[in-house]
């Protein structure tokens, strides 16, 4: 226990300086058709940090995650994961896509979705054994969904769907978790449950990156922030970077100054 506390006390900024970078992108440009989604974005996510990606709609936040994962092709730029090429470290990444990106009437049960997270272990034909199920159940337990294991996924509420997606990511036993708006459209109880799990991941020295929309909770939930609006605006710790100036630069005139002041007092 003390050992872990000591390890955790080892500051994120120090680790960044010591070069321990969970995710590093540079010169990342992605275009959909003629329209640029991201232009020349560089970012360094230190290992063990909890980072919010912030920006207005259409700023390329989801695209940044997908390009970092290689799900969408990049026009130029490099992605390095734990200091190596993405393809060599892919198994250490877990991705939680937006809840709305799948058809929830798909004929599958909650536990089967979580087992999908173990595809690397199971491969094409290895049978699902008892320990696989037990691991999947433990992941569901962690998001408080174990009672729903044999439910059809179409019967879940939005918050429950999000928790199942998180459980699937937990089943991957990854070191870097990339989540696309995990708090979108979920109730307060689910939001609490999810943030508790994410914090516990950070306590295990894993790295968490979330596309996030609710500016009021940023200082509570995260220790770092990355502002983007097609280009990178700023990145750094909450204390130094979550400033009125950066918010104004990211959102343009759309964010009232009084609103920003409220956010600052929350810090």
């Amino acid at each position: 226990m003390e050992q872990r506390a000591l390890e955790h006390g080892y500051g994120v900024e120090e680790r960044l300086q010591s070069g321990e970078c969970a995710l590093e992108v540079s010169g990342l440009t992605v275009t959909y058709g003629e329209k640029p989604a991201l232009v020349g974005v560089a970012a360094q996510i230190p290992s063990g940090s909890m980072t919010a990606i912030i920006g207005p709609n259409g700023a390329g936040k989801s695209t940044l995650l997908k390009a970092a994962l290689g799900v969408v092709p990049k026009s130029s730029g490099t992605v390095r994961v734990f200091g190596e090429a993405l393809s060599r470290q892919m198994h250490r990444l877990a991705y939680v896509p937006q809840r709305a990106s799948v058809d929830w009437d798909f004929p599958t049960r909650v536990i089967d979705v979580v087992l999908m997270g173990m595809y690397r272990e199971l491969g094409l034909l290895r049978p699902v054994r008892r320990w696989h199920r037990e691991k999947a159940l433990a992941c569901l337990q962690r998001v408080d969904m174990a009672d729903f294991a044999s439910r059809q996924i179409g019967q879940l509420s939005g918050g429950q769907q999000q928790r199942v997606f998180l459980a699937r990511a937990l089943a991957q036993s990854a070191d870097l978790y990339l989540l696309d708006e995990p708090f979108a459209g979920v109730d307060a109880a689910t939001e609490r449950a999810i943030i508790d799990v994410l914090k516990s991941l950070q306590a295990e020295r894993r790295t968490v990156v979330c596309v996030h929309h609710d500016l009021t909770t940023v200082p509570d939930y995260f220790d770092r922030v990355l502002f983007i609006n097609v280009r990178k605006v700023a990145e750094g710790s909450i204390a130094t970077t979550f400033t009125a100036e950066n918010l104004q630069k990211t959102y343009g005139g759309r964010l009232a100054t009084t609103h920003i002041d409220q956010l600052r007092t929350a810090v």
Binding site: K66, L69, G70, V71, M90, H91, L93, A94, Y95, P97, S101, V102, D103, F106, P107, T108, R109, D112, V113, M116, G117, Y119, R120, L122, G123, L124, L125, Q152, G154, R168, Q172
Partner: protein, 313 residues
């Protein structure tokens, strides 16, 4: 008629009818289980474009074989031609929907009608040719099992078995790519390869089914069994299994029915039997069926009324 049907059902209606029934059942099993993943990936209609695109290939293969001095009737030759033009059709659909602003359904409509129209023109030309007079190519439109050979049935059996084997081997990547392609890509599934394999599978089933069901209706055999199976279960593997069983049943019963009456087209009868399975599933499936839904709603309303009655006293 009834006796003839029973005979055909029990494989007593003669060698040819039995061959057709067994062949149709195998084809139905392959089509039903392959169609499951197309249905879940919401790409069922692409297979219709594939099927209609086979016609020019069949005609051109016939012309080519005749030009080289053959009779033009070799089934393998015709099927190779059909596979070639179906592949071309699929590529055009893919190109149109990924490189232009055309949505996939419009691309399907364009390809389907263009290829089919071109095919019908070629077919007409062939029928005016002396050697084409009795080519019997129009049998590929709606299926014709008269004169089906042992080799033809063998082709269907082997093709069907390979398709089913493929699905069993690749059920996990197929499921992952259908449910959540973006996630699948991050966990080591080659989504593009899987999609292409899914299309090739649909193409293979279409091509081997041309002779029995015909290109106009083969899509029904890929779509109706999985849609019916979906009513009975909430698990992918069981949907695929049931769809295979429903497809086999439709193929077998349909072939037996069409064998029991003179000049009944096999394809349409098989499709109608499939439709009956769909209607039964849609009405009577225990949880997702129409009646079960009505019953549940009524029970809920009754329960609510009872509650209100108690609390009002």
């Amino acid at each position: 008629m009834w006796n003839a049907f029973l005979e055909a059902l029990l494989l007593n209606a003669g060698y040819n009818a039995s061959l057709v029934a067994v062949g149709a059942a195998l084809l139905g099993a392959a089509a039903g289980s392959s169609g499951t993943f197309l249905f879940l990936r919401k790409r069922s209609l692409v297979s219709d474009a594939l099927a209609h695109s086979t016609l020019p290939g069949i005609c051109l293969a016939f012309m080519l074989m005749v030009a080289f001095g053959g009779s033009g009737r070799s089934l393998i030759g015709l099927l190779l031609g059909s596979a070639f033009s179906a592949g071309l059709g699929a590529l055009v659909v893919h190109w149109l929907s990924s490189r232009t602003r055309l949505p996939e359904d419009a691309a399907i409509g364009v390809v389907l009608s263009t290829f089919f129209g071109f095919g019908v023109v070629l077919l007409t030309i062939i029928q005016t040719m002396r050697s084409g007079y009795q080519a019997g190519l129009e049998g590929f439109l709606l299926g014709s099992t008269a004169g089906m050979l042992y080799e033809d049935a063998l082709l269907i059996a082997v093709g069907g078995a390979l398709a089913v084997l493929f699905i069993i081997l690749f059920r996990r990547p197929l499921t992952l790519a259908s449910f959540n392609p973006e996630f699948a890509a991050t966990i080591g599934v080659r989504v593009r390869t899987t999609d292409i394999a899914m299309m090739l599978l649909a193409m293979a089933v279409t091509v081997i089914g041309l002779k029995v069901v015909g290109l106009v209706l083969i899509v029904a055999l890929l779509v109706i069994p999985p849609v019916s199976a979906r009513f009975w279960t909430d698990r992918v593997e069981i949907v695929a299994l049931l769809a295979g069983a429903f497809g086999a049943l439709a193929g077998y019963l349909g072939a037996a029915l069409s064998a029991s009456a003179p000049s009944m087209p096999t394809g349409p009868i098989i499709v109608l039997v499939g439709t009956s399975i769909f209607i039964v599933s849609f009405l009577f499936a225990p949880r997702r069926g129409l009646l079960a839904g009505l019953l549940r709603r009524r029970q809920a309303v009754e329960a609510l009324k009872a509650e209100q009655f108690i609390s009002s006293r």
